[in-house]
């Protein structure tokens, strides 16, 4: 028979549990605030400081004026070309700029056309770039009673397909989340269940244990990556313009980084649950918001931009978009790869240091 007195006794007890558990309080108060701040600042559909390469083959007052307009707009961060006669897509391929504007020789006299080359591996931003750049140019033209002919060249994703955009991003996000989750519970579960104590008393070293735990997951992670890649290519027709071996190599590096992240979490968290929550928190949100997956990093406030440097997905996104859409080779990717390597090593060292085979 239902008795309200009993129900209230249970309710009262729950209140005590809630008030005395720091985790619950954090979830109720701190997490929402954090999310609001990050979402609010990272979520940005506006254009700001997009790197724009200006190749001025004429160099007259007209081109200077127009260039100045771009500089003052705030939407673009103008990079002056050193005029080495590179192909227009090269700077985009190596991520020096996201768009480039080329004034042809004799611009303003016999010619009134400008070449606007846009990196459309992020089609949303590409459309914005096209719109804003056109607006700036057309405004100038209207004010001066002239007509300027904008010739847009959409690179890497001519049909502005969104699948080209989100599939690489998904690979990055899924991989980091899955791999970090897998290893995060590997140590904390042994701590919780108690099996760690038995293993500790053998001559095994912390490094042997940690490395031994990472190995099977490397293979699993790789299989996962190939699976998602296959679906992306076969189902969504995302191109694969780069070298497959290079892709494997860099993906392996990324997987390693994610696994080390999980290991590090595992040595910090005391329970499996805590480890899983930490792993999710560190991978899901930052990857979605701060890696450049959806929202351009250049549009974020400086503080957040700094934070993105420690988000592994930021580097892998460059790599995977570079390989799949731009056909990048090692030359354009090694820096991102190096960053991932450094991150892995640092996190592994932290994990080894924390993973003492003694009871405190």
């Amino acid at each position: 028979m239902f008795r309200s007195g009993r129900m209230l006794a249970v309710a009262q007890k729950e209140v005590f549990h809630i008030l005395r558990d720091p985790r619950t309080l954090m979830i109720i108060f701190i997490l929402p605030v954090l999310q609001l701040v990050i979402f609010g600042y990272a979520m940005n559909m506006e254009l700001r400081r997009v790197p724009l390469l200006v190749e001025d083959l004429e160099k007259n007052s007209l081109t200077r004026e127009i260039t100045l307009r771009f500089v003052n707009s705030g939407y673009f961060s103008v990079i002056e070309s050193r005029g080495s006669g590179l192909q227009p897509d090269e700077p985009l391929r190596s991520r020096i700029a996201q768009a480039s504007l080329c004034f042809p020789p004799d611009f303003g006299n016999s010619r009134s056309d400008l070449q606007l080359t846009i990196d459309a591996s992020d089609p949303n931003t590409a459309q914005l770039i096209q719109a804003y750049a056109s607006a700036i140019i057309n405004k100038y033209a209207a004010e001066n009673g002239s007509i300027l002919d904008i010739r847009p060249l959409i690179m890497f994703n001519p049909d502005l397909k969104s699948s080209f955009f989100f599939v690489p991003g998904l690979i990055a996000m899924i991989l980091v989340m899955v791999c970090a989750l897998l290893t995060s519970i590997s140590i904390s579960s042994e701590k919780e269940v108690g099996t760690l104590e038995q293993v500790m008393v053998s001559p095994v070293s912390p490094t042997e244990i940690l490395l031994g735990k990472v190995i099977p997951y490397i293979l699993l992670g790789l299989m996962d990556a190939l699976l998602i890649l296959a679906v992306g290519i076969l189902l969504f027709h995302v191109p694969f313009r780069g070298n497959f071996i290079i892709f494997l190599g860099f993906t392996l590096l990324y997987i390693l980084t994610a696994l080390c992240l999980g290991l590090m979490v595992s040595t910090i968290a005391k329970t499996q649950q805590a480890a899983m929550m930490m792993a999710m928190a560190i991978t899901l949100l930052p990857t979605m918001l701060l890696s450049g997956f959806i929202f351009p990093i250049s549009s974020m406030p400086k503080i957040l931009q700094v934070v993105t440097y420690i988000v592994p997905a930021r580097y892998y996104l460059q790599i995977i978009r570079g390989i799949m859409l731009k056909g990048n080779s090692i030359a354009q990717l090694y820096q991102a790869g190096l960053s991932l390597l450094v991150m892995s090593v640092v996190m592994m060292l932290v994990a080894v240091k924390r993973f003492r085979l003694k009871i405190q």
Partner: protein
């Protein structure tokens, strides 16, 4: 050479001292029991011997090696069975044993030999393919013991190995321990069960981090200087009250259908008869031998005083 030597050993956790300036020397080839209730410091002591503690004061030598400096050497030569079941529930019996064999780098040839031997001891062969999680309490203990023995250690250290295990399996387990001793393995066991103390060759009584007494079980039982009587009656509670008024300083304990009376002086036959005259509820009285628990309590008491 002593298998374990501890000198000036103190273990502190924050504010509390788990082990307080302890001296201990355990000779080889015997079953040594560390007897004490929960909170006495047994697990801390055992962990220190197994080189699992990061901080302690004093020195510990296991098999002649220093626990702080030569931990790896020690770990290769001892077998450890922790208090909680510490094996992989989702691996089979055989997989668990094999894992630890490889961890201890037992060679392939050795492995086969050891496995056969261990299966003979533990009679776990018919369960080789069963998941460890599906074993009964007693079998889990035997499996844990097998894993601790796979690398032929000279010293076996067990922390409350029979905790929560049914009496039959407990008996079996102790038989196995004595068989191991016959093979020359030194064994150090900790237990809160006073009755298991009598199954050891040498014991020490541990309380609040200090050793109260050490000796063979017989010596310790003999050291008890009080007298213990068992009294029966129709109404034990009133009898209890009655005896309390007669001997206010004595220890009285109700045990189901009898009262145990413990006091320093002997109580003569005449005294009992006189009481019976006064209180007809007293039916019988008998001199009885003390149990290890009685001795422990007495030692604990005089230690506090």
């Amino acid at each position: 050479m002593m298998v374990i030597e501890a000198a000036g050993l103190s273990i502190t956790y924050g504010e509390s001292k788990a082990i307080d300036n302890l001296e201990l020397q355990i000779p080889p080839g015997i079953v040594y029991g560390i007897i004490g209730p929960d909170g006495a410091g047994k697990t801390s002591l055992i962990r220190a011997f197994c080189t699992l503690l990061s901080h302690y004061q004093g020195t510990i030598k296991v098999l002649g090696f220093d626990a702080a400096q030569q931990a790896k050497t020690i770990r290769a030569a001892i077998g450890y069975m922790p208090q909680r079941f510490s094996l992989y529930q989702d691996l089979t019996v055989q997989q668990n044993i094999m894992f630890f064999a490889r961890l201890f780098r037992v060679t392939k040839a050795e492995r086969e030999k050891r496995l056969e031997l261990l299966y003979r001891f533990s009679r776990l062969q018919p369960f080789a393919k069963r998941l460890a999680g599906n074993l009964s309490g007693g079998m889990k203990q035997k499996l844990a013991l097998s894993c601790a023995l796979i690398h032929t250690p000279r010293l076996l250290i067990l922390d409350e190995p029979t905790f929560g295990v049914d009496p039959v399996s407990r008996l079996e387990f102790w038989q196995i321990l004595h068989e191991l001793k016959a093979e020359g393995i030194s064994i150090v066991v900790s237990t809160p069960y006073m009755d298991e103390a009598e199954k050891c060759d040498l014991i020490c009584l541990l309380h609040k981090g200090r050793i109260l007494q050490e000796g063979t079980p017989r010596q310790i039982l003999a050291s008890w200087q009080n007298h213990l009587y068992s009294l029966t009656g129709s109404d034990l509670h009133t009898l209890f009250g009655f005896i309390q008024t007669k001997l206010p300083g004595s220890e009285l304990q109700l045990f189901g259908n009898e009262i145990h009376l413990s006091c320093e002086q002997e109580i003569w036959e005449e005294q009992f008869r006189a009481w019976q005259q006064e209180f007809h509820g007293l039916e019988s009285w008998n001199n009885i031998a003390p149990s290890m628990e009685d001795v422990f309590l007495a030692v604990m008491k005089s230690d506090t005083n």
